[in-house]
Symmetry: C2
Subunit: 530 residues, 2 copies
């Protein structure tokens, strides 16, 4: 995993953690030196840390005299940094290796993902995911915002996610033979609304003009003030937002991609309900979001499904024999098709000459697979007897049209934002794709249908769950934390106007791959073959 490299660079070689262990030599108290316990430890720490300010809060001070005496004043101190001050979290006997673990959390609208990390060496011990229990209130964000406005709603929706995290944390710790006290920090990345609900902040004004979050730059918190049951003095870092529609998850993505540290021009695309796009380099960052998602995630086609066992994620049509080769996840009998499979399928249909540049079926090239279902032409990808559902899995003209609108939206957004940034799409040296979609999609197919620019194929880099990778980096590295603030301050968020020019671009982009074939030289070549 890519973030492991950062972990190693930042925390082991560079000693760059914002949570760290310092083991000062303390003289036990005597009549000659009857400094108080807390002051003695602070003095010892400040000496090792060369004058850095150290503070011991009241809860830590309460435990301190017992632990110092139990360990004979020979201790590891676990500390976290907030601005210029280091705060004591825990002390442990110096006779043992320090046990310091942390949690990186991707606070997704649908899915929560937790990663247990050894903060001493960056090792990832385990990763678990579960459904965000707020989905029981509503699958979409707006329903949850409305629910939070009801009497007691905000507290309830916050408690749902906090308690679910606590359960996951408890079992993670148990499976890894750790007391929950060994977890000494948590870093959380989510979109702006998820972050508000996690913090118990009212999200009411996020979805109302002029779209105002309560807070963008979140102060460092204590896990305990959020009700997260790890070490009682553990800090909680929550990714900042840029605004109502640009949340901490995307900042985590920018961080994980490394694009904000590079000279060269990169783009990061995260396709969920919205397509979220960031482009730039170490000098500037521009971001926008647009509705391009659902069809691309497989959510619109009648046979579309989220990726999962039995879902078709890869399709090849042999142009000579017209034989269809399908791959399903875990090789199970096919039940449906996910976004990446759909893009493959449409690309393959086009290359096989079964659909034209408008995406319309060319009946004479489709053989007996084309059926009329309820008056709509549909292409049978899997006949009923081979499918897991016992019904034909068929792609209708309507499904294709929806996908083409989505891909056109995607391409138009890319064209618009690059135009506003005054760069060319062909200048991208890295085209990062976040999320599961990014891991599954075949760039060749995405280019063929004209969804993304015709770049060398190895320019496309799937990054997986960048929200989680970013949270992991933030958990491990002080430098990453500085970079996060830096990213937040540098991102210019562009509100895309759906005006006449946008609509013109959109209309042209609905063709496969585009009305302007010069934009897709490698695709034009392919189609000639078909």
């Amino acid at each position: 995993m890519e973030e492991r490299q950062y972990i190693a660079m930042d925390t082991i070689r560079g000693d760059d953690g914002w949570i760290k262990v310092v083991s000062p030599r303390l003289a036990p108290p005597s009549l000659r030196d009857n400094t108080a316990d807390a002051d003695r430890l602070i003095k010892g720490l400040e000496k090792v840390m060369q004058g850095t300010r150290v503070e011991i809060g009241l809860p830590a001070a309460k435990r301190l005299p017992f632990l110092l005496r139990e360990y004979g004043y020979d201790v590891h101190s676990v500390l976290y940094r907030e601005e210029d001050t280091w705060h004591l979290i825990d002390i442990q006997p110096a006779s043992k290796e320090p046990q310091v673990y942390g949690l990186a959390v991707d606070l997704g609208t649908t899915t929560l993902v937790l990663r247990l990390v050894n903060l001493m060496n960056g090792q990832i011990l385990e990763e678990v995911s579960c459904l965000n229990p707020q989905t029981e209130i509503g699958l979409d964000i707006l329903t949850r915002i409305h629910f939070a406005a009801l009497e007691g709603g905000l507290a309830k929706i916050q408690t749902l996610v906090i308690e679910k995290l606590n359960k996951q944390i408890e079992s993670l710790a148990k499976r890894n033979n750790l007391p929950s006290d060994a977890l000494m920090g948590i870093a959380v990345a989510g979109n702006t609304t998820m972050t508000h609900l996690f913090l118990g902040l009212v999200p009411y004004w996020i979805c109302r003009e002029p779209y105002i979050p309560v807070i963008n730059k979140i102060p460092l918190l204590n896990a305990s003030e959020l009700g997260i049951r790890i070490h009682p003095d553990a800090p909680a870092f929550v990714f900042p937002n840029v605004g109502s529609y640009f949340g901490g998850d995307l900042i985590a993505g920018i961080l994980a991609s490394g694009m904000a540290r590079q000279e060269r021009l990169s783009i990061l695309v995260d396709i969920g309900t919205n397509a979220e796009i960031v482009l730039g380099n170490k000098d500037w960052l521009m971001a926008c979001a647009g509705a391009a998602g659902p069809a691309l995630e497989g959510g619109v086609a009648s046979i579309g499904m989220m990726a999962g066992p039995g879902v078709i994620d890869k399709v090849t049509i042999d142009p000579g024999s017209e034989t269809i080769l399908l791959r399903t996840i875990e090789d199970r009998p096919p039940e449906g098709i996910c976004g990446s499979g759909l893009i493959d399928l449409v690309a393959q249909l086009f290359l096989a000459g079964m659909i034209d540049i408008q995406g319309k079926f060319i009946s004479e090239n489709c053989g007996n697979r084309l059926k009329d279902i309820e008056g709509i032409k549909s292409y049978v990808l899997v006949p009923a007897k081979e499918s897991a559902t016992g019904k034909d899995l068929a792609l209708s003209q309507t499904d294709i049209d929806a996908l083409l609108r989505s891909k056109a939206a995607m391409f138009t957004i890319l064209a618009t934002i690059t135009g506003m940034a005054n760069v060319s799409m062909l200048d991208f040296k890295d085209f990062f794709i976040a999320g599961t979609f990014g891991t599954c999609v075949n760039p060749e197919s995405a280019i063929t249908i004209g969804m993304v620019p015709d770049l060398p194929r190895d320019t496309y880099k799937p990054l997986g769950n960048t929200s989680l990778s970013g949270a992991t980096l933030a958990l491990l590295s002080s430098r990453s934390r500085d970079e996060i603030q830096n990213i937040r301050n540098r991102v210019t968020y562009i509100e895309l106007n759906v005006n006449q020019e946008f609509m013109n671009l959109f209309s042209a982009a609905k063709f496969i791959p585009h009305t302007d074939l010069s934009l897709f030289p490698s695709v034009r070549t392919s189609t000639k073959k078909g």
Copy 2:
């Protein structure tokens, strides 16, 4: 009151409060500027405060969006400073005068004193005192330390004082027509054990060699984390200790006296169970404590009492007629005598030639007032028929001996500490006396019996409750807060060794005024008169 001057200087003219009000001009949100609420306020504040860092904690952030909209984004912000960061406590409508109050608390072993202060102008609205409810566990500190070591003891003894303070705060606020939310800060001064019990810190090791407090320098806390029911985001400043036997109350005293800011040499004496002594100036401070108290406070003599109605606090014996003139508090019939009355009485007996330089009664000079009570010579100060008790109020030889031991201890401690500091007692330009005792004692009498040095009488300055005055200063002024840390760092605490030299000095000091009469030139003159 002396501290009023500082209030005026520091907070009104000098704008030196660590709690202050800033009223930035905020543009309400719009589509052109959809900065989040918290970030918008911070930006506005940081602009007015010229780049100072401002932070809004989670509880304040939760209330913020509602209040900003209620007040139309036109607000006073109440902030407190911690190191280089200002934290938001409250926002109020800019259309009204800001309402910002605070509490100064003297956390006495016996008595709690609370003072309600308007932080906008330093005005003291009200002062109340009550018994420290921990006295029900034990009058002395040791009993409380032992109680705290029992199962649940620490929590109970902490709750006692916190809940008592809460009750006092509630009625103070009610009487002054303030919501408890209008109280936005608290400053607390107490001795080391009282401070530990107030904070819920284990005091076990304070009274055990090598006498180690849990903490000396206490971080700035939230009143709410202590359970103090004022504004939920109000800060709580607790005076630091120097060590187990030198607490925050004495630092408050040094602060209130101003001695640590002066060129000239001063001494501060606080007589309670122990006599606590600090001497020095703006360059150095030396402190010690010694057992000299009980007899001086009137706690040892059989007719001794704490100052209160009907207690004799002033005695004059006309040297010619041997007429005794008594003053009782509130002019009530006499019940007993307090420390200052006792010192007066012994001085007057000596000046009238009724006791000798060893304090022994000279029978022939005492007239018919000298009686033999249970085999001990006793001087009847108030005959039974004139007293409130219906019994003779008589001072026995034993009482005199006890007082002379105490005054000798006091003088020996003064001689020892000045000797160690290599200064002369006659160099003191100010002799500050803290507490009720200081307010009542007649310096003339104290000098006459040789308890304190023979300085010009106006050198003696009673300061009243310096713990409370110091807490008031800390509540009002940032500069005072810096001075407190400075005092703490500069105080050298001297452990007095009761060795042979000390005993020699003590023996000489038991005489009235001393074996070395040259130390008390003005007293020698007086005795000649008698």
